[in-house]
Amino acid sequence: MADLFQARVLSNSEVCPGIFSLVLEEPRLAALAQPGQFLNIRVNAETSPLLRRPLSIHWVEEGRVEILFQAVGKGTEILARVRRGERLDVQGPLGRGFDPDPGDRTPVLIGGGIGIAPLGFLAQRLKGRKVLALLGARNGEALACSGGSKLEGLGATVHAATDDGSLGRHGLVTELLSEVPADGIIYACGPGPMLRAVAGYALAKGIPCQVSLEEHMACGVGACLGCICKGLAVNGESVHKRVCSDGPVFDVRGVDWS
């Protein structure tokens, strides 16, 4: 069950330009966390910015929880200035994460940009399995520090695509989709258009696939109905699902991609 923590910041550092690694010491949170879940973090005690910021869990080890975030606006910029030793108001773990049991299928982790981050934690749980990772980022450095090197460290086979061609294929990660084996199971996180392409591919090929969606959030717990996506009920009817609490991870067959 989720809870509120005044989590102690063990470290916060810019691991590559604009990307920060924030490590929290919080054993109970670490014990509860599941891959694909997120934290809802209050960035300061003031009323502006007002809302918490949702950030995925990137890594869990020895009672520590790490997140990776990109400083893109007010909230994440304030977060970038948090220092070791301070306490951070953290709510979580929230949402439904990945189903980390691939059965006898080959796990294929597909991540774009900072969307690679949550795949790190998933790979930790898949340890011992042969994992294929298809990763895309603006350049090799961003790819490595968004989680790419950690995936490699865990023994995953990483195929890369970068916008500037500095690592792997010069292009989009979706251009690597043909490398997904027929017996694969896809776990994907990244920008909307990437997920749409991945979902289309998986549905067409009949490959099981889970995607982690993103929406602006207010409550993060399913109470406000602000973060709706179009889902499909089992009977094929279009229904509203809450990204924060019915997701953020959805089976592609449960999402209305039309």
């Binding site: 108001d89 993060g220 109470a223 406000c224």
Partner: protein, 307 residues
């Protein structure tokens, strides 16, 4: 320093609350979402998401925008409809050791009457909060809440169909909120709640389009507190029924301000998103304030700032 006991009970138009702290409709789901953080038994009550006769899918996305010390929403009253509510959610709500307010809305006076009688039959709720003010639904809220005659008409229809206490929730988007308050009280409201959201909007300068798919949305959060306090101050002095105050409450200080302005009880809305434990901290803070100031009964605070 455990001093004398402070009595926190208040009576909101016939509903006995164990303390004056409740939660706002639309911000607390159907009572289960915040269960990990707050035991409903420690609250005066909770209000559920607005209910309508029919299933409502709500507005298209995006539905949210953050604003300075506030937020805009245009959920559009997404709800499963009264039947599904009674079948699926009410049984669990009945188990809660707190007062449950059913918030209702409709397109017509008949809708309000219908939903009311369904709730009356079903039983298990403590009172009905009538949303005459939701600014999101084109053929609904806005007209009822801004016209004293129509507001009274809805109130009478609800009143006629239930023995439960009726709380009418007022819109702040009016010239004179006391006029509407008097009209609904004359029509039989046992209490009034205020404020609903202020009508606002946001624009994205990149796309040059409104941020919300619905264009207009409701502003809530600390930004609106000064307006909400003013309206509670005015309404509580204009009518004889108790006022449930809300709008930007995040801390015990905020809640105490509302009570001093004339609210008998308060509700936390957007504040839950910022601090899921806010309602609990507010109960504790009110008690502490009373103790520190020699107040034995929280009702002494109600309207204590009136001149």
């Amino acid at each position: 320093m455990k001093g004398r006991e402070v009595s926190l009970n208040v009576n909101l138009g016939g509903i006995e609350l164990r303390n004056p702290v409740t939660t706002c409709s639309g911000t607390y789901g159907f009572g289960e979402e915040y269960a990990p953080y707050v035991d409903p038994a420690s609250l005066g009550g909770i209000a559920v998401k607005g209910l309508t006769r029919e299933v409502r899918p709500g507005n298209p996305m995006p539905r949210l925008a953050e604003t300075p010390s506030g937020m805009l929403n245009s959920i559009g009253l997404q709800n499963p409809g009264i039947d599904e509510f009674i079948a699926r959610y009410l049984p669990e709500l009945r188990q809660l050791d707190t007062k449950v307010l059913a918030n209702i809305a409709g397109n017509s006076v008949e809708d309000y009457a219908y939903v009311t009688s369904r709730l009356e039959e079903a039983g298990g709720i403590a009172g009905i909060e009538v949303n005459i003010s939701c600014p999101n639904v084109k053929h609904g809220g806005i007209q009822f809440g801004t016209d004293p005659k129509m507001a009274a008409q809805v109130t009478r229809a609800v009143r006629k169909n239930t023995k439960l206490p009726v709380i009418v929730k007022l819109s702040p988007n009016v010239t004179d909120i006391t006029e509407i308050a008097r009209a609904v009280v004359d029509a039989g409201a046992d209490a009034v709640s205020l404020i609903n959201t202020l009508l606002g909007m946001a624009i994205d300068i990149r796309s040059r389009r409104p941020v919300l798919a619905n264009v207009l949305g409701g502003l809530s959060g600390p930004a609106v507190k000064p307006v909400a306090l003013r309206m509670v101050w005015q309404v509580s002095q204009a009518v004889k029924v108790p006022v449930l105050g809300m709008g930007g409450i995040l801390t015990a200080t905020d809640a105490i301000e509302f009570m001093l302005a004339g609210a008998t009880a308060v509700a936390v809305g957007t504040g839950n998103f910022v601090n899921p434990r806010a309602p609990l901290e507010i109960v504790a803070g009110i008690e502490e304030y009373c103790r520190a100031n020699g107040v034995r009964d929280v009702n002494e605070l109600v309207g204590a700032a009136w001149i």
